[in-house]
Symmetry: C2
Subunit: 135 residues, 2 copies
Amino acid sequence: MTGTSPDYAAHLRDVGLRPTRQRVALARVLFGSGHRHVTAESLHAEVKATRIPVALATVYNTLNQFRDAGLLREVVVAPGRSYFDTNTGHHHHFFVEDDGELHDFPSDKVTIEGLPSPPKGTRLSRVDVVVRVRR
Amino acid sequence: MTGTSPDYAAHLRDVGLRPTRQRVALARVLFGSGHRHVTAESLHAEVKATRIPVALATVYNTLNQFRDAGLLREVVVAPGRSYFDTNTGHHHHFFVEDDGELHDFPSDKVTIEGLPSPPKGTRLSRVDVVVRVRR
DNA sequence: CAAGTACTTTAGAATAATTCCAAAGATGAA
DNA sequence: TTCATCTTTGGAATTATTCTAAAGTACTTG
């Protein structure tokens, strides 16, 4: 061990969420090790393995809350296929169409120029770039 | 009238699809007037109004076939929300998050630079840019 | 143009992802 | 503690989409 484990409870309180047993368990899995892309199902399977029982509905609730709180970013790549990305910083995605894999790539080097201004009465929320590739 | 109506049957044959009554009816609605964004449901409702009965399953089949044939482009903007765009040329989208509206914008002026090369063993399929805005 | 074969359509069942619900349980303020 | 509020839960409900098997239609060949 090189450090103490993060205080997920405090972190959750900071964003206005009660640090319940299942939210902390999910946060630990999500944020415990590098950036991840998860689906509700995959996260549910993972957290079950930690012996803390969490219902699938709770996983959905929590992912939505974490996203709303800015802890996660949702990426929709195909009908019925939505990922939650623990990397909320500026970056874009590769999507491998054949197998549904998603990979981040940094937006440092990427510049987008010439975007028209948002339609009247709207303000920019985010720019998503998905680079689709095939094997 | 300033011109004859396009020969949808021939057009469908060209891409390897039999020009059935329902495919022609759907093509007419889709391609008869400027570029459109439709969902399976909205297209189904529209074509029903033309008095040519088409089952919802057929609308789904046909949209998928048209997309595979390159006649349509599918745009996924939110979980469970997928649009089919009759504009298959290079362009990008505005997505108004509040009401689910989708608008095209030309990619003429837009330049994207610094994209990393596709992961090993993959080739570029397409780059999707979705500019998300809120009211 | 008659026939046969292959392709399509159809209604409804099936599936998949996600949300809703009402009841039971946990949390935090006083 | 105690209570009001927020959460979790399992299962039902919903939504979007695909599947299925039977009935119908389009193209080919003779």
